[in-house]
Symmetry: C2
DNA sequence: AGGAGCATCCAAAGCGCTTTGGGAGGAGGC
DNA sequence: GCCTCCTCCCAAAGCGCTTTGGATGCTCCT
């Protein structure tokens, strides 16, 4: 039988009120008293009963998740990794999840139901598209949220955590150009997703800054699986004037691309340079590729943890966070990039 | 402001006790009264406050999930699909999840903490191995659980939902034999997993029943990704006496296998027959393969939903379920299977 | 006729926290 | 020396449900 607040108060010769206030950081309690309370908590192993807190405060201490289920959609490896980050942080604070599988067309209704149910204090949003209507919707539901990624166009004032995709792919492309590459290909995520749009923009801009153009036939958009990486690369190589370098939006895509390259009898890093974005998936480390992969790195799990942290912080009124965070990806050079052939 | 039990009771001219009992199916309430109550609930849209129920009953109304995070491990597509099934059912009953990411070596501690926290009423267990120690552990923690899959060896009396992997692959193999195939290969899941062991057993047994042997060089175990399906098939085809038929433990593996076959200039269903196990992944339908795939089918999402259903039923003391369920997979013949070449 | 026994309902006591509305006592101002 | 104003603490009232321990009639038996 776990110790309860009442017992703790008796033990300390204090009222429940004071103990509760000491624990929740209210100012009207003597510093010395607070110390005594905290010490007693440590010794007794007291943990407040979440059910009681929920009832008393009206907070749900849980966060809502709408997980997309549909044919084309990413219930993929990236989602799992992100979820792990979210959960890692949530479990520390004893937060629950309400998982709502939802077909894309029902998503709005799902969010609405979720907000109305009172079962969650906050939600998070991902897979941002251009002019994503869900941001305005969540605002109108007036439920706290944090977006993973950013929309393009539409309202600007919403909380998000994103990486600077444009900059990351700009820098990656710049490196390739500096190495002498002139024909650069891009194997990207699905065309409607904001991150894919930005990455393409980064590539385009870098090429332009050096007086080059992005050849549209060297750009493929698809679900980010091994399979599509392979197919895309294969088609690039079939072209009369194949690229000497390729950027991949995921190491998963790169896996397929590398296979296609090898199969064509070419060597990664010599005949074809490759840079991939690395979400730091534990099962697919760029350094373990037969030719270690040059990458733009930013941990998906860390993003999940950060978003959970911000959501939870907001709910508990603790800590202050910047509203909009744009993380820089690190450009890590390994062996898959080299001078363009013939330079 | 949602309507509460008290208001509902006043509205009906009844006590809270009676209304509560009417809603929770207690016998000491007149049938007519119960009907009145239910009608009022429908009209007012009353929904009991979960926080209050949690506090009053001591139940958590939530189920615990330990999600494996580690290099080799499946935070893969199959997990997402299963999770969707779980969540689909849970959301119907207003159940929450407590997601615990955990490295395999910490799993025991995680379960222990989870059970002790009182945050969950039940947990579920997956990725069964032979002699899986976690079953005994969960029993000793005396927290309700349902296993997805079955162990091999060890205690027999625990609740599970599994498919009859042995039978499924026995029947698939039998079909191949009847079609004249004699050299049959198997691209399986990881060797230590119970389902993989059983599937191999099914193949072995079928071959044996027809006086044939399973050639160990025609059996590969790996994580079930496209990539490994491709590699395995490629290696089979390089053999001096390649198989004329291959069984895959997942459509994901089959995807790679098919690619390897095509690339070798062979035709699926004519030169090489292929049967895959189909978990009914929305993004990978066997009927959409260039040559539609013959499969043993059993929906992973349905299994998730069923397990959630059983866990929730157990918590609410509602409904009775068989303790151990062994589902039969359906063998669905499509175009990827045909007579062995030269027959 | 007098209970026993059942069916049906109710008042009130929790569940374990947070929060409201003071109250005691000492410091400081005049 | 009196009043005001903090500082620090407390008692008690919820939060919205479930459940205990009766109460009240009625039927049925003997």
């Amino acid at each position: 039988m776990p110790v309860k607040l009442k017992q703790l108060a008796e033990l300390l010769g204090l009222s429940q009120t004071t103990v509760s206030r000491a624990l929740n950081g209210y100012p009207e309690v003597n510093a010395k008293t607070r110390q005594r309370v905290l010490k007693a908590v440590r010794e007794t192993g007291y943990r407040p009963n979440r059910a009681a807190q929920r009832l008393a405060t009206g907070k749900a201490y849980s966060i809502g998740l709408v997980m997309p289920i549909a044919s084309g959609i990413v219930s993929d490896i990236h989602f799992g990794e992100f979820l792990a980050g979210l959960a890692e942080e949530a479990v520390k604070h004893d937060f629950h999840f309400v998982l709502n599988p939802s077909a894309p067309e029902d998503e709005e209704a799902t969010f609405r139901r979720l907000a109305a149910s009172g079962n969650v204090d906050a939600v998070f949003l991902a897979h941002m598209r251009a002019n994503d209507p869900r941001i305005a919707m969540l605002k109108s539901l007036s439920i706290p949220f944090v977006v993973h990624g950013r929309s393009i166009g539409g309202p600007k004032d919403y909380p998000f955590v994103d990486i600077d995709n444009t900059a990351a792919f700009y820098e990656a492309t710049r490196l390739l150009i500096q190495l002498g590459h002139r024909r650069v290909a891009l194997i990207n995520g699905q065309e409607h997703l904001a991150f894919a749009i930005r990455r393409k923009k980064g590539v385009t801009r870098a090429l332009k800054d050096w007086g080059l153009d992005l050849d549209e036939t060297l750009v493929h958009h698809s679900v980010m699986t091994d399979e599509y990486g392979y197919r895309s690369m294969q088609r690039f190589l079939e072209q009369p004037d194949p690229p000497t370098a390729v950027l991949c939006s995921s190491t998963v895509l790169a896996l397929g691309a590398v296979r296609a390259i090898n199969q064509a009898g070419l060597t990664v890093g010599a005949d074809i340079s490759i840079i991939a974005h690395d979400d730091v998936l534990p099962m697919l480390k760029p350094e373990n590729f037969s030719v270690p992969l040059t990458t733009t790195r930013s941990s998906l799990r860390a993003a999940g943890a950060r978003i959970a942290s911000r959501l939870i912080g907001g709910i508990l009124d603790r800590g202050t966070y910047p509203d909009q965070e744009l993380w820089r990806a690190e450009l890590i050079v390994r062996a898959s990039t080299g001078p363009a052939p013939g330079k």
